[in-house]
Symmetry: C3
Subunit: 193 residues, 3 copies
Amino acid sequence: MTPIQFFDYAGIAVFAATGALSASRKQLDIVGFIFLAGITGIGGGTLRDVILNVPVFWIGNNIYVLTCVVTAVLVFFTAHLVESRWRLLLWLDALGLAAFAAMGAAKGLAITGSPVVAIITGMLTATFGGILRDVIAGEPSVLLRPEIYISAAGVGAAVYVLADRLLVAPQMAAILAFAAGFIVRGGALWFGW
Amino acid sequence: MTPIQFFDYAGIAVFAATGALSASRKQLDIVGFIFLAGITGIGGGTLRDVILNVPVFWIGNNIYVLTCVVTAVLVFFTAHLVESRWRLLLWLDALGLAAFAAMGAAKGLAITGSPVVAIITGMLTATFGGILRDVIAGEPSVLLRPEIYISAAGVGAAVYVLADRLLVAPQMAAILAFAAGFIVRGGALWFGW
Amino acid sequence: MTPIQFFDYAGIAVFAATGALSASRKQLDIVGFIFLAGITGIGGGTLRDVILNVPVFWIGNNIYVLTCVVTAVLVFFTAHLVESRWRLLLWLDALGLAAFAAMGAAKGLAITGSPVVAIITGMLTATFGGILRDVIAGEPSVLLRPEIYISAAGVGAAVYVLADRLLVAPQMAAILAFAAGFIVRGGALWFGW
């Protein structure tokens, strides 16, 4: 499994978990957990692929959807064990944000060759699942929180594009982009930026 | 007209009616009725087709859009006659939910051959128009209501896939899926599941 | 630069400005300004192109995205100078609405040849960016305001289709449609229709 594939599945799982925790706060049933987990996990990448006019990534590979289902079921039966769900959700969300910014930029750049498009697809992939989650769950959108959020996705995506320009191998570029996005977002959470 | 075509138009009309009734509660003008009816009626199927990367169903056939327009105009001039609009909306919504779960699963299965994708497209087709309606009209999303809702769409879509596996003819499978979805959702409304 | 191209860029810029002013009211950082400006500026046209199954307009031409970024940065540094931001936003929105209704109808008609589809793509292009802006910023959707709004977009799109039927040249049809849409929306703002 390459780093990009790993980030891909890990990003799906952690975003799905944030959707499931959101369903938990709204006291939905298990199908509600799965639905919100799925929308959060694959929503950003679906928008990316629709905009890039390529086949939607989860259509030909059931692992993505099953990852969301399994994550949702796990969270459904363990959410009561998690002491501070909100805090956990924020850190999972930071991991997903960093992974999807790297992934989204990589795919956008590979398909269009345009750095501008790559930064946009990185930011959209990283934020749109969470936006859908918040809008559908009727919570204040993650965009409106005072801390640095989209900026972290933008930094991650920009680092990918820059690393690619500097002829860094795609897998290393993805790791650098993930690290950059997570450091910025994690710093915002930790230090209250 | 085959059962699938019938469910298709009927689903459009009843979902459009729920959009128009939502516009009525918000006291919009007639164009607002048409807009919200249209988004609710064709929103779910549009998302399904975009994800499946097939031509959007209403582009080549004006009957779908005209169905929404006629329904919206009818509701605009008769909404004051309906005693309990909310209750009516819930039952129309249940009919639309069941019809679109069957339709969406049928189209997803026909195009991708994947049961997992078929269940997702069934659920998305059945719920996304209503989600758009609620989000745009600023009402609590239908997903967050305590009763069984998405689960009914999931049951309907799963019944279609199962019937197809058991070599039931598509039209009979659609009828079974519609019945299953409507029984689950109607039961939730009637018995307060 | 043809009138259609001019309306295109002008519409992007003014809608982007409304997104940035919305970000200003929510006290977002500069990346939040850019993100909300971008979604408002290119959201409606993106939905139009995805529905029409043509390449998304900003993928191959960075000027659109850069227009949004420059507009957002300008608004970020000047928003405090604008006395009544809300009022300005409404009039910019009216310009964008009229421009996008003309543009959206022109593209829908050129690609499908269907007047019904053209009116829908005109209305969606004109309203969807603003709907996304309001939904994501957590403000009451522009659709729910008591004044005439979507109707103005519908009038503009219908005038384009009608002018095309009467063999008016596309560029003149676009000017007529823009004028019609802006007169209706501007009248609603000025006279409180």
